[in-house]
Structure formats: C-alpha cells, structure tokens
Symmetry: C2
Subunit: 266 residues, 2 copies
C-alpha cells in the first residue's frame, strides 16, 4: 500500500441549504489553475448535525478545515477550540482551520475580503470616511476591518436601526474611528460606500444609498453577487465612481481563507 | 436565496490511510464524461471517527451515500440500518447508501465487480470450475457471487490455509457449487482463475498460481491494480488465455456501486 502518498485535501462548505453557494465552483477552478490537489465540496447539513461533523473533522488528516455559510456561522463559533479576536467580537466564523493535532480555529473573513477588494482599486481605507449599509454578519465584519485599518469615520445604516445602533455600541472603543448611525440618506460625507445588506438582490432591487450619496463617493462596493451588476453598482458606474462587485470581494476573501487553511492563496 | 437548486452530490470514500485509493479519480472522470453533478472525495478517518461520520451523513441530503476501504469495511457493517444478504454473510460492506429518510443500507460489490468483468469477456460462470486465490474480504465476496451465479466448482486457496477452510465452511449450503480448498498447485482443473490475494503487488510479485494451472485455464482474472500488468496477467496473456485486469474489475464494480447509490452507472 502506498502510504507515502498524500490524499487530496478536501474542504467542505457547510450550509442549510447549501445548493446556492458558488464557493466550490470558484475554489475548484482556482485549485485547477494553481495545480493544487484539493477540492471544495458543498455539504448540506442541518444544525443538529454540527457536533458530529466537527467530531470527525478533528480526526481526518486530509481536511485542512472547512467553510460555513448560513445558518451555522454563530453555532460553529462555539464548536471551535479557539476563535480569532475579531471573529470573537463578531460571534461568527466562516472558516474553521483544522491544525494537525485536531485543534479547530475559527475566523471570519467577510471584512478582510471586502476591504482588500476596495484597497485593490487604489482606494485608501486609512483616513477615509466610510458609509456601510447592513449591520448583519457581513456588515459587522466589514465594520471591524474598517476600524482596524484606520478609517476616519464609519457611518452605519440598517433597515432595522436598532441593529446598526447595537453594532456601533459593540464596536465602541475598538479604535479611533468615529462611529455613527442613521438612515443611509445621511451618508453624504462618505468617500467610500459599502453595501453589506441584501439590497440589490432579486426582490429588493433598490439601491441601499440615494443617488446623491453615490455620486459624491469615490468608491462604491457591493457585497451582493447576484445579480453581479446591482442597481448600486450601475448607478456608481454611471456617475464615474470606481466600483467593487460582490465577486471581487468573494475573490479576495477566498484568497484569505485559503491562506488561513494553509492552501496556496493564488 | 435560490433554494430550487440541487447541491452537487458528494460521495466520500473513507479509509485509513486513504491516499492510495484511485476511486475518486476514476469516479470523477466518469461523472465528467456522463455530465453528472457529483464528486467523489477521499476522507482519511481513523476508526474512532466512524460513529460521528455516520451520524452527520444521515442528515445530509446531498450525500447519496459513501464508500469505504480498509480498515472500515467490517465496522461499517455494524453502523448500517440494513445490510444486504450477501454482505451480511460476509460481514463487510464497501458501499453505504443513504436513503432520503437517512436510513443507511450497506452492500459489498467486490464479487459483483469481478464476476461482471469476467462475464464481460464472454466467459461463463454458470457451470464453470473456478479457482480462487485469497480468502479475505474481496475473495469472500467473489466466492459468494461465484456460488450465486451457479459455478460448478469453487476451489479456494490462501496463504493461510485455515482462512480458506473457514470461508468454505461459511459458504457451505449457500448453493450447489462444489467447494474445496488446498494449495493453488491443486487448481489444475479450473477453467477460470481468480486472484483476490495481494500476490502480484510490489513486494510479493510471484504469481498466485503455477504456470501449468494458468496455461490450462480459459480465463484468468486478477484483482490487483498496481501493477496493472501483474506476473499472473503476463503469464496468462503469453499462454493465450483471456485476461481480466484489476482495473476492469474496478470499473464494473464502480458501475454497480453508482447504480446502488442512485447515480448514473454509465
């Protein structure tokens, strides 16, 4: 028996449902491009299966870790042996690394991915005034990264104002970034606009910021991937503002996740 | 969220080690060829992880089931809710189907695969005298299928004679096939020779049957896949005897397994 071989590394992505995730297709294309013997596979799993899933993953030496999407991001934070500091503040993880001894370490990369994508356009986060729509899991991760990277101001709006207020309260004291909340109409001083809400998705097509706010910005980023060209992106493009689409955020986030899992980020 | 989509079907193959298995490569090529949205992935898992593995698989609706290799074939027989009759006699399974309600049904396909491959050459099992070397898991499965398909005689040899004798005792009364055991030298009345022992693998290169037995046969089959051309196969070929290589057995077995899992056998 050839025990000198290394098995293909398998990276499951858990969800319930999971059929909608595009990660396996994107990652597997990246693995093919970079010549990595690895495969990302979707796993449909209800919450009551998480404990068992984590138990065997600890023992499997060809699993560098796994990814998760809705609705397991919070529950898996509990299942990790260690959670990176920002993910701990957020209370959610989307990537769980399995170290060779079976230790599981969780991190949340939505914020890194979005801000890496914005900076890749040449925009600077340090010193910038940022307006963020959406104070859910992705929005919260983006907000922390904006603070970590030295944004001058962060204005957070949400369809549920109390959710934006709760996020601001949770982030207070984390950095020197000036935090504020209010309706998106009040975001007109922001250079960078970020949508981390479902606005722009099928069924809620309206842009999350009014046209005058979009036109006053220098960079507009949207976490929504379906459609690729949201109303927000279209309005920004028409106004000559540089744009970041959801797919670019996903690509940067993917590279971060792969590096965290010990794969070639590529 | 697009919940009308169907997630890629994932078929893990468990082993410890698992890096040596060729099944994922073969199956994934078959899925690509037949246009099936499915992927077979190796999972390295020690025995203590089996219970947890089975627990989450029951809950995951994009897993039609899973495969297993050494050393889990016996332990997983216990984990199934139901084991098909021949696999129950064998006490081993290599394929576990997950029905939509989470029920797990185990079957062992080594015998089907080998005898399908032999019959695909035009050789007939019904009425044939067969000599089998190797009374382990694969050999036992082949022996049962030889009986089920009406072989006239089945002569079983094994490096450990007691193992061959135990198998014959276990198979007694299963059919009308005349059963016998002894050293492979005594197999000279057999029309069909089958190797299900490691003989021919690196480190134990000798053929499992003597030349005069090989030359007297009409069909010689070898379960060994590495090397593809074993000494047994080479000797048979040189003697003008029709041959079945390990890869052919694997291909036929794979088709049976996929059909059992509700995939296109193709």
């Amino acid at each position: 028996m050839k025990t000198d071989l290394t098995a293909t590394r398998v990276i499951p992505i858990l969800g319930d449902p999971v059929a909608q995730v595009s990660t396996p297709g994107i990652w597997n294309a990246q693995f093919a491009r970079t010549g990595q013997d690895a495969v990302c596979v979707p796993i449909s799993l209800p919450a009551q299966g998480l404990d068992a899933f984590v138990a065997w993953v600890r023992l499997s030496d060809n699993l560098p870790g796994f990814l998760t999407t809705i609705p397991h991001k919070a529950a898996l934070t509990e299942a990790c042996d260690r959670v990176e500091p920002d993910a701990q503040i957020l209370g959610v993880v989307n990537t769980i690394r399995r170290d060779p001894d079976g230790t599981l370490i969780g991190e949340m990369f939505d914020g890194h991915g979005m801000l890496d994508a914005i900076e890749a356009t040449g925009a600077r986060i340090r010193g910038a005034r940022i307006a963020l729509c959406g104070a859910g899991a992705a929005g919260s991760a983006i907000a922390i990264q904006a603070i970590r990277r030295g944004a001058a101001g962060l204005f957070i709006s949400d369809m549920v104002p109390a959710q934006a207020e709760a996020l601001v309260a949770r982030l207070a004291g984390l950095g020197k970034t000036e935090l504020a909340t209010g309706p998106a109409e009040m975001a007109d001083a922001a250079e960078i606009l970020i949508n981390a809400s479902p606005a722009g998705s099928p069924g809620m097509l309206d842009a999350p910021f009014p046209a005058k706010v979009i036109e006053a910005a220098t960079c507009v980023a949207d976490a929504v991937t379906d459609p690729a060209e949201t109303v927000l992106i279209a309005l920004a493009r028409a106004a000559g503002v540089r744009v970041v689409q959801g797919a670019e955020m996903a690509a940067h986030q993917g590279a971060r996740m792969r590096a965290f899992l010990g794969l070639e980020a590529g």
